[in-house]
């Protein structure tokens, strides 16, 4: 009896693709934790001006290098202490979340859009155009990414906007290569031939017929792109080539922390923790997405 029941259950309609994806994604504990942390950061970033106890720029002259609340001499006015000019660390971190997420969103949007366009067109058209684009991408990949970003910032001048642009250019080749590779495999399939026979034009074939079937690896790469973007932007900020003071960017906050390493560990520790956990969260979520979107890995 119970056997026939279970058989009946199995033969029921297949799950909606999104439901199936969610089921696989939830099985991966790490991915779920990462996803929840991302939601938390997004919430903090959106609500920054309501949550933050102080302005990120306000300097409390009588509370310079105050330790965190739980230590001797700390007060709950400044839960995570203050920095060298008396700004509240917690408020700066909260507003920094906004910047880091913004960097991630803009970088990934620019490079994903440009990468899809270049990758799909070069994969579909082929010939000289493809060779030229791919050679260019190879050159960009041959350079260490931070070095290339630094070269671009040298040209454009140091600022957060230019750092964003530089990082978008640096991670572009990954998207171009991924998009091109999937287009080449998809292009030869029957459904594409079928729509071509039906009279679909090149643009329709590229962006309406083929593109949706190439999205899975691109989505995964985009999630992982967030972590690269946040890390690189922080690194550029740390080197003084990204966000300029007094902008509360996490990397830039660390830039002058080196002088206080002996006296004020909290100035050094918290911005780094924020970068570290955000990057881990995006990496976990990206790995989880890869596992649940890749049909080959499904059991």
């Amino acid at each position: 009896m119970s056997e026939s029941l279970s058989i009946a259950n199995h033969s029921s309609a297949p799950l909606h693709p999104f439901k199936e994806f969610w089921l696989y994604f939830c099985e991966n504990k790490g991915a779920l934790i990462g996803f929840c942390f991302i939601l938390f950061i997004v919430f903090v970033a959106l609500m920054a001006q309501y949550i933050a106890p102080h302005s990120p720029f306000e300097q409390y002259r009588d509370a310079i290098l105050n330790p965190p609340a739980w230590m001797d001499g700390g007060t709950w006015t400044f839960p995570l202490g203050t920095d060298d000019v008396g700004r509240d660390m917690l408020s700066r971190l909260i507003h920094g979340a906004r910047l880091s997420l913004l960097v991630g969103v803009i970088v990934v949007t620019i490079s994903l859009a440009a990468g899809i366009l270049l990758g799909i067109v070069s994969g579909y058209v082929g010939g000289y155009f493809e060779t030229m684009i791919m050679r260019l991408m190879d050159i960009m990949l041959a350079l260490p990414s931070l070095l290339l970003a630094m070269a671009i910032v040298t040209i454009l001048g140091p600022s957060l906007e230019n750092a964003i642009l530089a990082i978008a250019v640096v991670i572009l080749p990954h998207y171009v290569r991924l998009a091109r590779a999937s287009v080449i495999t998809e292009k030869a399939k029957d459904y594409v031939t079928a729509s071509r026979v039906c009279g679909a034009g090149a643009l329709r074939l590229m962006f309406i017929v083929i593109l949706p079937n190439c999205m899975a690896p691109l989505i995964v790469q985009a999630t992982l792109g967030f972590s690269t973007a946040i890390l690189d932007a922080a690194a550029l900020g740390f080197l003084g080539m990204g966000a300029q003071p007094p902008i509360p960017e996490w990397g830039a906050m660390l830039a002058n922390a080196l002088q206080f390493v002996q006296r004020a560990w909290w100035v050094v520790t918290f911005p780094g923790l924020a970068i570290f956990f955000t990057v881990i969260a995006f990496n976990l979520a990206g790995d989880g997405l890869r596992d649940s979107l890749d049909p080959k890995l499904k059991r």
Binding site: I139, S145, F238, T269, F276, N283
Partner: protein, 336 residues
Amino acid sequence: MIKFLLRRIAMIIPTFIGMTLLTFALIHLVPGDPVELIAGERGITPARHAVLRSELGLDKPLLVQYGNYIWGIFHGNLGKSIVTKQPVFKEFMTLFPATMELSFFAMIFAVTLGLPAGIIAGVKRGTFFDHSVMGLSLAGYSMPIFWWGLLLILFFSVFLGWTPVSGRLSALFWIDADTGFMLIDALKSDEKGTFVSAMRHLILPSIVLGTIPLAVIARMTRSAMLEVLTEDYVRTARAKGLSPLRVIMVHALRNALIPVITVIGLQTGVLLAGAILTETIFAWPGVGKWIVESINRRDYPAVQGGILLISSLVILVNLAVDMLYGVVNPRIRHNK
């Protein structure tokens, strides 16, 4: 095999040309007049302006400038630094051994820890050890290494006082920079304690720089081991009654190492990029710190030369890795 090598070598030529175009364009893409940017806000007399322009070769037609640039590169002449007036190539070469020493030890740290960790994690799949290695490796490649460096300084140098905070050698010692490799120079010097001091200065920077390669190598070794362990020849070796150790170390590891070698080689680029950050934190007098300083000082010839030299190095190492791959993996040799 020779055909494979020739094709691979031919492929780096356009890459190299692209690189020279990029570094050449660097100074021309800067919005505004590079000479005025170099001069800064204080301004510059028209006469000095003209001298600087001709010193940088900016008064000639663009094509001639590029021709001169390429001509210079092939003669080892990358121009002179605006700040120190030294030839860029010479400056790079005096600083490069410091970066090489640091990268070498970072790589040793990464490989000696990463390989065994990856092998054991792969063999003991699903155990606590496996999960810890995977978790730590995720943490490793999510690590902002400039922060990691600060944390290690905070703990080991400030709190415990075990290691020095920065530099390559304690100020108590003075030795002649003979080879540029501090450890070798220290061994050659007669003063006692120099070698130990140099070694102590190397520890933290090597760990910081080696962290990301360590994470990548451990992960890669583990997945390569997992793949190889399901192969038929491993089962055959087991069925023959070989000891588990021999099966893993000889039959499985040899084949698993092929992709791992590539990954180790490809970490060179990561190391050189990481050296930029690591050297800045530890005030390590290598090419990474030099490039950062040159960018901040708007010393364009130095930036151009530095980027060109480092990227050429990465290209050459990648080429060497590909060739090594052909040697290690017979399948590649015979296919192409």
